[in-house]
Amino acid sequence: MISYSTFRIAAQNGTITTTDSTRQVVSEIEKQKHLNAFLTVCESEALAQAATSDKHFATGSPRLLEGMVIALKDNISTKGIRTTCASKMLENFVPVYNATVVDRMNAHGGIIVGKTNLDEFAMGSSNENSAFGAVEHPLGDNLVPGGSSGGSTVAVAAGLVHVALGSDTGGSVRQPAALCGVVGFKPTYGRISRYGLVAFASSLDQIGILASDVSTTARFFDAISGIDERDSTTAELPATQSLAMIEQPLLRSFTVAVLPDSELAGCDADVLKVYYSRLEILRQNGATIIPAEIPGSTAWIPTYYILATAEASSNLARFDGVRYGFRATVGDDDEDAMIVRSRTQGFGAEVKRRIMLGTYVLSSGYYDAYYRKAQKARRLVLNGYNDVFTKADILFLPTTPTPAFKRGEKTADPVAMYLSDYFTVSANLAGIPAISIPAGTSSEGLPIGMQLQAKSFDDERLLYFAHHFYQLFN
């Protein structure tokens, strides 16, 4: 698929139409059905939007996202289009309102072609937890694409769409982006409205962007970011203006912080090789490298899993089979039995495991031992980052400890699966922006991603550095 910027120029010159491009996309999605990236394709809605885009191009008034082909993770609410969270619980759920991001991309001329597969309720790191089957890595070979935004990531990596939205609670945009070789960006908490994103862990959740380059990512971010009166946790800031900023030439000198080598000990040799060689490239291009010590990093994953599961157990309490969602049909004896049966049959194994863990850490007698401690450890992470970013522009680190792993490799051991988020959860704990960019390949030819993190609300500068680093690395 041609890049969005190439498409935009061609459409402005009249050598291509949005209608043709959208038709092609729909037929390509059909051809690549084995990837299982899409749960719903909305062809008629997309073609109606494409016709409007063609008029805008014809009259020389294209909007910011005119004709851009977009996929949405299926936990983002779309009015009149099924939104399942890849769960039996919401298999037939058709939202009656749009998420704010959906309204905004529509207003900017974006074309939504479909809803993508994910780990059920965004809980997972391999996209093996979907009630509608696993997503395939574009390279096949029984590899996982990562998760939980696996379908969105594969849609971009396989060239089926220009851009896709995911959600990132502990790395669910950046981790699959690294495993599939695309750009995955998690903005600062509060920079993109979460209204209409089905909640997993509300203090950590952030909608994120997947694209094949940083420039498309920046353009899309500018279109959907900014305060939303329907999400009181959005920051009181207007939309970003990152597209113009990323084109500025790279500073002659800048400061990059790196983790102590001991923290990288668990990484695959190929990941380390790419990491050190890319660091050397940065050094040759004006970077001063300084050490970063973020206290408590051994407890990043435990802290994350305590807080995320606690919040999830509370958020998912709303699924009771009463007002919407799955209701178990067996027995109609009493309300309580109906609720227990609906939840038991409607949720998959990993979702139940996390609800159980979250309920446990919040239960009487354990609250102080786990939840309270994790909240304190979370402040430690935030303080550590604040300290790093008084001295450095960017923290540079791998996105994942390993390249894509095989299906079934980690499903039996939840802790091993959770550890694949080792380098991503801390950005959610601190609320800071982070981005994964393709940086190299393993000896077996699998993509390897590197991550850049910056201080809160420094999203535009983060994209600027990411844009330049991407060009230096590729």
Partner: protein, 93 residues
């Protein structure tokens, strides 16, 4: 409580039901996950205030202006069972 009893108790709180096999499997996985998250005990958290939310905002106020809410038909559209303009559930009492 032993691990099996703990899992049964937590399942009741979470409004979930498990088979005996699932309960023993859960009890095992729970032990593993819990012993792993114990690493949080190694941190020195003396004098550190809990971070309850990352957002700087305290109260977000707006004018109390009447706006249209969802039409009744939309609200009931996804109801598993309904009776005219009500959600229908099994008997409560």
């Amino acid at each position: 409580m032993n691990p099996i009893e703990t899992v049964e108790y937590v399942a009741e709180l979470a409004r979930l039901k498990f088979t005996e096999d699932e309960i023993s499997q859960f009890a095992n996985q729970f032990q593993n996950i819990l012993s792993y998250i114990q690493t949080i005990e190694e941190l020195d958290l003396e004098g550190i205030e809990p971070l309850t939310h990352i957002s700087q905002a305290e109260n977000v106020f707006r004018e109390d202006v009447v706006q249209p809410s969802l039409p009744l038909e939309d609200v009931l559209r996804n109801a598993p069972k309904r009776n005219e303009s009500f959600f229908k559930v099994p008997k409560v009492l």
